[in-house]
Symmetry: C3
Subunit: 330 residues, 3 copies
């Protein structure tokens, strides 16, 4: 693998087109925090396979279009070279690209939305980076959530773009916990897998396996925390009385999964305290996800990864050792 990696790096150095491909693949890899072209390639194959199998090829095409447009936009805006090369300007547009055709009907205007959204996602990435820099926290997927929600809400306000079936929105409806049991072995494994593939807005088991491999290629620790986060989500949501079908479909699990990976394997020094802290955050993300669904349901749009962003920001902002909550008196 190391030989391939060295060969790829040398090939990229020589030609801009290859570098452009490298930046875009890393953009896809950054959806799960991997500055790694191979991870990105595996994620892309997973999404392509999944969207082909589920008969929605437009989802993969739109995601690819989004990340390519975003990389071009970042070059036009002359962003910082290191961020561009690490794929930090691509992952929000890739997610936007796969989310829009999931929640909107296919039409010429949809493709205009994807291109416009990808361009604005780069501007939103720069803006959020400016806003959170004084707080020393990362951008995460806030630009994806912001721009996608604006476009989805605009689609509901104007008649030119039609929304897809509301079933796709995955609202958590409260039903008695006895009605079904997502902790039966098969349903449990399915829930785990779907939580992984729902990070990319689709539930499909073979895709999930590829995503897990891609994640493990970049960081075995991240893969471990992803499984732990999904497992926590399944158990907590079931105990809280969430609808079993939604749990099994992975719609409750992808946000806690992202929180667990971010706090357990990416943004904090590894260790026992970090692990406990990440697990606590994943548990709270399940509740925050439920709260957000309750707030956003009347507006007919999904919460996307908003609960992951907010809980991870909250837990990253809390830096006990260096901080004093002492209230200033002026």
């Amino acid at each position: 693998m190391s030989d391939v990696s060295v060969f790829w790096r040398r090939a990229c150095e020589g030609t801009l087109p290859l570098r452009f491909v490298d930046w875009s693949l890393r953009g896809i890899g950054q959806v799960l925090f991997q500055d790694n072209a191979l991870s990105g390639l595996l994620f892309l194959v997973a999404i392509g396979w999944g969207s082909y199998a589920l008969d929605v090829p437009e989802v993969a095409i739109s995601g690819l279009l989004g990340v390519l447009v975003a990389t071009l936009t970042a070059m036009w805006l002359r962003v910082d070279g290191a961020g561009l090369a690490a794929g930090l300007y691509g992952y929000n547009a890739f997610l936007l690209g796969i989310a829009l055709p999931t929640f909107l009907a296919v039409s010429p205007l949809l493709w205009v939305f994807v291109v416009l959204g990808a361009v604005v996602s780069v501007i939103a990435t720069l803006a959020v980076a400016s806003a959170v820099r004084p707080l020393n926290i990362p951008v995460l997927t806030a630009p994806f959530v912001l721009v996608t929600l604006v476009l989805l809400l605009a689609a509901s306000a104007f008649s030119g773009v039609e929304t897809a079936t509301p079933a796709a929105l995955g609202f958590i409806e409260p039903i008695p916990p006895e009605a079904a049991d997502p902790l039966r072995p098969l349903a449990f494994l399915e829930g785990l897998a779907h939580s992984l593939s729902q990070v990319f807005v689709k539930g499909y088991v073979p895709s999930a396996v590829l995503i897990l491999v891609g994640l493990a290629v970049g960081s075995p620790r991240a893969a471990g925390f992803a499984l732990a986060g999904a497992l926590i989500a399944l158990v907590v949501a079931h105990l809280m009385g969430a609808e079993s079908q939604l749990v099994t479909a992975g719609l409750v699990g992808f946000n806690p999964l992202l929180t667990a990976v971010a706090l357990g394997a990416v943004f904090r020094v590894p260790g026992g305290r970090t692990a406990v802290y990440a697990i606590l955050a994943a548990v709270f993300t399940v509740l925050a996800q439920g709260a957000m669904v309750a707030v956003i349901t009347p507006f007919g749009v999904p919460t996307l990864t908003a609960s992951f962003v907010l809980v991870t920001w909250l837990f990253l902002l809390a830096k006990p050792e260096s901080s004093a909550a002492s209230e200033p008196k002026s």
Copy 2:
């Protein structure tokens, strides 16, 4: 004109009452970013004429009351002299003053709301200025939006103040784009003009002409971007399938117009890239405006200039050259 300007400056230097008038007029001018007493005077005449012609004289009176109370409040609070002299403590109260009697029925409590709102708008201006200073972005009309929405929502919560006809709220209802055509020449010109006068919460063509003259007096470039912003809004909203009557009434256009002026002619170095950037922002403001209407409709209040504020902040925060989105690892 220069002689009049010099004469006015000298007259102001001598007497506080004249300086007070100067500060208040500049406050009105700042609604469209003009630190210019003549622009402010022309805007005031435009509003006065429009509110007289539309038989709502209370609107102009309330606007004037708002800016005078705000200027007095700023003096009492001992704000910075340069900001006071540039009218930066007045424009939010002027907008609040013309918005309140547009959305609330006339009553003694309405006038209490105008005075209280004008006072608090100065405090909100200072507060927002403190909050956004580390980010190096301007206050814009955020204090107007914040304080006016609090008062309008409070009016719906308490029975002492009655809301005006909901028709005034200008919700964008989705109807088929074929139903009418705002791009016919006459409707198109009307839409352009109303987009300008709706910046001051009213649709009236003669007012729009006066506002355009007032704007051109202060900055011809700003007048050009105002027309460009309104034009973009008309075309984009029509393509999106917005209701033609609302487009023609200027209710879709005033926010993109403000965005285009702010980004194209006020807060960025002029040039080709700035113009492209401003046009992109104006297009996105049309979508953001639609999204906000979808969110705020259930609460029975208007979005005011919220979409302009948020999109302009987003595009000003994004400073590619100096910024790195690189995620910090702690």
Copy 3:
């Protein structure tokens, strides 16, 4: 009193268990800004008495559990010693502890919520402290509002936790102001007292007297501004046409009361201008409270102390002397 205080301080120095009790009592005292164990003890007795008299002992038990868990969590997270000793990591959890059983039915999961919420409230306190430090404003009860709303909304999204009677939510329904009169002497005194005890989410006159004594022990000025804030709220809400029963129940008064104490007696240098400023803020809090109730009602959750937090932040952020609203041009 001084002797008792000295004796207590010495006793605490010797033993960790006593220090732990001291920190927790100060945590309760900080609900009304008192870094004072005796104030905290009197508040605790007031809540205990009130919840016993109103036949909801779980409220006092849950509050106590919350503050103890939060103090332990703060120790585990190794927060700054001065903040811990002043009770700054306890008051949000105490409020969360008394709020949860007020709005949710008693069940095993409720107690899990209280413990989890208390733990997360400490993390939220650290996070909000980090976020507001550059702005030089205090944390106030933002962590309480944030974490409690997440848990209450999650309870409405999942079927495992049941919400209590909606009557407890205290929505302000608009009825004609003539229908009843909260300014009759007895109703007026009741309204004053309940505004005080509603700071701790309960309306009970004897508790209110104890709370006032506890507050006066810590700061007579704070007690004065508490009464002034409650009085302003009663009069303003009545003039606005708020429902008299809610005014008398103290549900309109506790937020303006907190604003008046914070701005008049805690965070600003005492004086005539400060008093005028605090009264203005208290008046605006009544309107902000009405606005928030209008926004939050469809979601079936209470606004808690959100209007106090936002208005107090707004008025503290506005620092006229040092600040310029001058808009930067880049």
